[in-house]
């Protein structure tokens, strides 16, 4: 008995040690990355990079630092922007709003030229008023919360990612215009992301006036079955289902619908556009629509950026890397085109000059959303997500 116990304990210790080893390097990395690269030098252009560079969301923030470094190096090799060297100043806020305000204040008082970040919508919202009052331009690669641009509160805010409502709009338009749906059932998983998507979808359907929402409900993630909800969809007479949420729930709902011989089209978001969805739902996945970021893998600049990352850091880039790379390019390009770092001139350049980036040829609209980025509709055909043109 004793021996069994000691072996068990040994095994547990071994596991813990292993897990520890796995985590350690990223933490170390986070610390070094988060440290400011260099103090703002007199004649240089300082690109502030704010976001989560440590903590549990560091995997979203660190790729943006790498992206900024690569772009800065590219400009510096060519002789800099307006003849001035580009310097990166990375500041870590762990995606926490309270730290984000500190970081914003620090960047403002350090007189950085321009800011790329923040990463999370909550932190971005907290930091934006400080940048606005200081007349500092800020471009996020990943904050998708719609009011950031749509409220008009932040004329100094730009982003290289489409906002959450763009997906919902796309799903609704596709259901109504292409599939000719008149009655739509909207389901969600009660989560922030899924419910937000579903609420946007609902309001777009209602505003459009061409179709009606016959069912709006949340399902319980992880419940053993969804037959009652599926029956409700059938009872409502919906001719399309729009679901906001992730693939485990989506595959269960679709499977149970197909089991009941319902052929109703099923549309969803980029939480579902995942190969695991097809793997799990199997044959039931056929014909399911899901929106996802436009396929940019054939873009030569995108491929080039990935190659640069591999050469410089020896690894695949992480989440939002192309968006961050694009944001850095767009910012530095705007300064170059404007011929100065002056606030109004740079904003004017951002809105008028198109720039070739990994996410496509983009410019920015009045509100700050990138024109030329966005989502595509995909459909599962023969076990693969195929982009619908």
């Amino acid at each position: 008995m004793k021996r069994v116990f000691s072996m068990l304990i040994l095994a547990c210790v071994g596991l813990i040690a292993l897990a520890g080893c796995g985590n350690e390097p990223t933490k170390e990395e986070a610390k070094t990355e988060a440290a400011p690269e260099a103090a703002p030098a007199g004649g240089s252009i300082v690109l502030g990079v704010a976001g989560a560079h440590s903590g549990d969301l560091a995997s979203y923030g660190l790729p943006s630092v790498n992206a900024a470094k690569l772009v800065a190096k590219m400009y510096n090799d060519k002789g800099g922007v307006l003849g001035r060297q580009v310097v990166i100043q990375a500041e870590d806020e762990q995606c926490k709003p309270e730290l984000a305000t500190n970081v914003a204040t620090k960047l403002v008082s350090d007189k950085v030229t321009i800011v790329m970040g923040h990463i999370c919508s909550g932190a971005t919202k907290a930091a934006m008023p400080i940048y606005r009052d200081a007349k500092l331009i800020c471009m996020s690669p990943s904050a998708t919360n719609p009011p950031l641009t749509q409220s008009g509160d932040y004329p100094n805010f730009f982003r290289t990612i489409a906002s959450d409502d763009a997906q919902a709009k796309m799903g609704v338009d596709y259901a109504i215009q292409t599939l000719g749906a008149k009655k739509i059932a909207v389901l969600h998983d009660k989560g922030d992301y899924g419910k937000g998507y579903a609420e946007f979808a609902k309001s777009f359907i209602e505003q459009g006036g061409q179709a009606q929402v016959v069912l709006f409900e949340g399902v319980t993630p992880g419940a053993v079955d969804y037959s009652a909800v599926v029956n409700k969809v059938r009872q409502s007479g919906a001719d399309a289902v729009i679901f906001g949420g992730y693939h485990p729930e989506a595959s269960k709902i679709v499977s149970q619908m197909r089991k009941k011989q319902m052929k109703t089209p099923f549309l969803s978001d980029d939480g579902v556009k995942d190969d695991t969805f097809i793997k799990v739902a199997g044959a039931d996945a056929e014909g399911v629509y899901a929106s996802g970021p436009r396929d940019i893998s054939s873009n030569p600049i995108y491929q080039q950026a990935i190659e640069q990352h591999k050469a410089a850091f020896g690894s695949e880039p992480g989440a939002f890397f192309p968006e961050a790379y694009s944001a850095s390019l767009a910012l530095l390009n705007a300064i170059e085109k404007a011929g100065s770092t002056e606030y109004d001139a740079v904003i004017k350049a951002l809105r008028s000059e198109y720039v070739e980036t990994p996410v496509g040829k983009i410019s920015f609209d009045e509100k700050g959303d990138a024109i030329g980025v966005g989502f595509s509709m995909y459909q599962v055909q023969d076990g693969k997500f195929v982009e619908l043109k």
Binding site: V224, K252, A281, G282
Partner: protein, 300 residues
């Protein structure tokens, strides 16, 4: 009215599964007054065993029904072994400890097993093959009840009847009842209490494993976390019916399944859990020991 029957049968399927898992909770509680919080994980391990066995047999080209049968048997044996081991490692050394200690040990076991499967397998959802063959009913009825719903309800009913007979008429069943009534007295009249407790854990685990394989085949996907929610629901069903009572676990499971199904159907699935647990609270206010539970008697 058409939809009434669909909700009714949907609730019946769901309730049968809750009942199948709840039996494990209720049997263990009946005998040693311990809530085995690792029971949901045994259900999950049963499902994973079924997945692995079915995968191997599928590659070897076995026919569908044989795969189902062998996967069920394998899951039952494997989960039974886990049930036995869990009891031996986590609960037996604490047999005479204060009541909170085995409870904590049970929660620890639950977390351990979850993480063990997470590390050994994956955190992703895995597709589970449809083991239950589709023998479709006639047109109007096929909407109301699919073949897998039917199999789940039928197997659950068979297992419950079998269990009742087992406890009533076999030697081991009698020993279990004696142990449940008074452990010390049972020991004095020659019942091997440790063996009875092990047997209870094994039987409870096999029931959970059957539930695991059937429900995974019904919904077609599993991951390491499925045991948690199913376990919580089944535990509530056991409490609702009166923990310690076998017919109570079945009744509790069915009532919980129907409540959820009808609440979803006629009100909103937003409040599925709210109604299920509101019902639990209301019943426990009026019958603190559950629907069929007996109030604890003072032992003299």
């Amino acid at each position: 009215m058409e939809f009434f029957w669909e909700y009714f049968f949907g609730g019946l399927t769901r309730g049968s599964i809750y009942a199948l898992i709840a039996l494990g909770y209720t049997m263990v509680y009946g005998i040693i007054e311990l809530i085995n919080f690792a029971h949901g994980e045994i259900y999950m391990i049963g499902a994973f065993t079924g997945l692995i066995v079915a995968g191997v047999l599928g590659v070897l080209g076995f026919p569908g029904l044989a795969i189902l049968a062998i996967a069920l048997v394998a899951a039952v044996i494997w989960a039974g072994a886990y049930g036995y081991t869990v009891e031996k490692i986590a609960y037996r050394p604490l047999r005479n400890a204060p009541r909170l200690s085995p409870l904590i040990s049970a929660i620890g076991m639950s977390i351990f097993l979850q993480n063990y499967v997470l590390l050994a397998q994956t955190s992703d959802f895995l597709p589970f093959p449809r083991l239950i063959p589709n023998f479709g009913f006639m047109e109007p009825y096929s909407m109301v009840m699919g073949s897998s719903d039917f199999v789940i309800v039928a197997v659950s009913a068979l297992v419950m009847v079998g269990l009742t007979l087992f406890i009533k008429y076999t030697r081991l069943g009698k020993a279990m009842r004696a142990t449940a009534q008074n452990r010390k007295m049972a020991q004095l009249v020659g019942v091997n209490v440790d063996r009875v407790i092990s047997a209870t854990f094994i039987i409870g685990s096999t029931l959970a494993a059957i539930g695991g394989v059937l429900i995974a085949s019904h919904i077609g996907q599993i991951n390491f976390f499925i045991g948690f929610i199913a376990g919580i629901k089944a535990f509530s069903a056991a409490v609702l019916g009166g923990i310690g009572s076998i017919p109570g676990a079945v009744l509790g499971g069915l009532i919980l399944g129907w409540t959820e199904s009808f609440a979803t159907g006629y009100i909103s699935s937003d409040y599925e859990d709210v109604f299920a647990f509101a019902l639990l609270v209301i019943i426990l206010i009026f019958r603190p020991s559950g629907l069929l539970g007996k109030p604890p008697t003072q032992k003299v």
